[in-house]
Symmetry: C2
């Protein structure tokens, strides 16, 4: 089997030499374990955080260890009563062609319900992130205005479609005219702005303000940076900001200390939260798996019926995962980024 | 009657010449109106914001107009069926010895239930602010640790006493050893730190960390500045920060642009909210008067029974209000600051 190990900790944007492709022995499943030949693995922005040695909500990947990640594939050997050879399983196998895990850490996936890849995107962690943050922390009301960045990614596109289904105005921000067209044509956003057209947050704000004459009620935060700068001044009284990520800062140093502007904007932001009576809530979806069943029950039928769309960007071969991941951090992917393995 | 007008908009800390004491005609109550001879008026930190011309949640006081504020006094003439001469009324009379208001804007106060002054402090807006933010946004659980600044002020002392009554650890921050003693001896805080003993947020953090070995679950924000710097790194997963004020920045310019550090701390704070999955909620108590009745029903008996203590700092004479207010912004008051008028 092959795997990709963390060769060195990146400073700023990761580069080829931070990763190492290795061939290792395929393990044999011990009692209760299952060996899976992976068909697909997921690449997600959060993985950048795992490459740093900083204290965070999850332990960093150790140097020399397999890069962390989830995947889905076919059981090819089983020492478990719960999984038979031929079953499909989802789990945290890391960046690898095969993985061996205790059955307690795996979830069975039904390939007839939806394509396997959806368990990594629209019906997996990213879709769940959008659904949870929007409903639980966004507290949406019909007629309100929502803004979300990375609008064609698996989180943003879920948020936008849920917002439209619930009668909100949905404004997307994305990097590229092709993405903006996708956001409007496929995901139903009312408008989508290409942030690359705007030099800084101030310019982006001016454009966004025209699209949000009644201000912004919900800013679903997954990107930060210029988008945050643009949206904050437009937030309405009693606005809500669920925060699940801040992609644009992930390459800026573990603590974001290089991501700052030239002045200390903390006091102004703090005052905004007060005078606008905002509710700002950070969340990490892995602490909310108890709601995953409800999410699947509610969203899977909508995906099957074509009422929720999804866009996938599939790269072939484990050896191409590092480059694809570097591109993800620069917004080069077009939809949910997935690596096809077997 | 006498009143104090806003003579000029302060830059930084207010000074004597920003205020002007004037003698004007006492108005006659028109239909539905009530004339009140004020016994006490309140001085509160939020008034500093009203002196600035910046866009905020409330309109600024116009130059030449009476400084905004609430007071309580005796009805001396009435053209209303709801108030008789001799009744006591609470309302927004501004900084003045007398005030004339429509009865719809007044609340009757029972001087036998509690001293009149309490309607400005422990049983008024400040006490209500502490009660609302603690219960509604703090979501307290027994055994947790709470930190609040201005611990002997009417908001902080309410928060601390409610926290202790509900089985939390309560750590106060105050400016002065006399205040710290009051916080512990009278209000029952477990500990209180004198922020003047610490040069900066880092030093205060080190001391606070020793008092909070299990971290901080609720930071009730009314002071910001050094205290915010000290508490933020100590916040626990799922920590809550209700924000009702940021006194230490009020003299630093309307938008806090002079209150900053030497680097942009916004990205780091934003990341903290995410990785610690915090809930940060700004609130302005005047939007929650629908809960005031519940507050009074619940807290007034505790005050009457001596189970909730309060400290008042009473200054005599309207002419001394500006100096007292300037002192308030520097933390020179000792408890709820009130001006005795008649």
């Amino acid at each position: 089997m092959q795997r990709i190990a963390l060769a060195s900790r990146p400073i700023g944007a990761p580069k080829d030499s931070d990763f190492r492709l290795e061939t290792v022995d395929t393990p044999n499943p011990q009692a209760g374990e299952v060996l899976v030949e992976l068909h697909y693995m997921s690449l997600d922005p959060y993985m950048r955080g795992r490459m740093d040695d900083a204290k965070s909500y999850a332990a960093p990947v150790a140097l020399g260890d397999t890069m962390e990640g989830t995947g889905v594939g076919r059981v090819i050997a089983s020492n478990s009563e719960k999984f038979a050879v031929g079953d499909f399983a989802f789990g945290q196998f890391g960046w690898a062609t095969h993985g061996c895990k205790p059955d307690t850490q795996l979830r069975k996936v039904d390939p007839d319900m939806a394509p396997l890849t959806t368990s990594l995107g629209v019906l997996g962690m990213p879709g769940f992130t959008g659904w949870y943050g929007f409903h639980e922390l966004g507290r949406p009301k019909a007629g309100e205005t929502l803004v979300v960045g990375a609008a064609t990614g698996p989180v943003g596109s879920m948020v936008g479609q849920l917002a439209k289904a619930q009668g909100l105005r949905a404004i997307g921000i994305a990097g590229g005219n092709d993405k903006c067209a996708l956001a409007v044509d496929t995901f139903g956003f009312d408008h989508c702005l290409n942030h690359r057209d705007y030099e800084d947050g101030r310019a982006l704000k001016a454009a966004l303000q025209e699209l949000c004459p009644d201000g912004v009620d919900i800013y679903f935060e997954n990107i930060a940076g210029k988008t945050l700068d643009a949206v904050l001044p437009l937030m309405n009284q009693f606005g809500r900001i669920p925060i699940c990520g801040m992609i644009s800062w992930y390459n800026e140093g573990a603590l974001g200390e290089h991501a700052g502007g030239t002045s200390d904007r903390l006091p102004k932001m703090w005052r905004s939260i007060l005078v606008k009576q905002m509710s700002v809530n950070g969340f990490i979806i892995s602490n909310h798996w108890d709601r995953f069943g409800k999410f699947l029950t509610s969203v899977a039928p909508l995906v099957q019926a074509g009422k929720i769309s999804f866009q996938e960007d599939i790269v072939e071969g484990l050896e191409n995962a590092p480059r694809a991941f570097m591109g993800l951090l620069e917004g080069k992917n077009f939809g949910k980024l997935i690596v096809k393995l077997n």
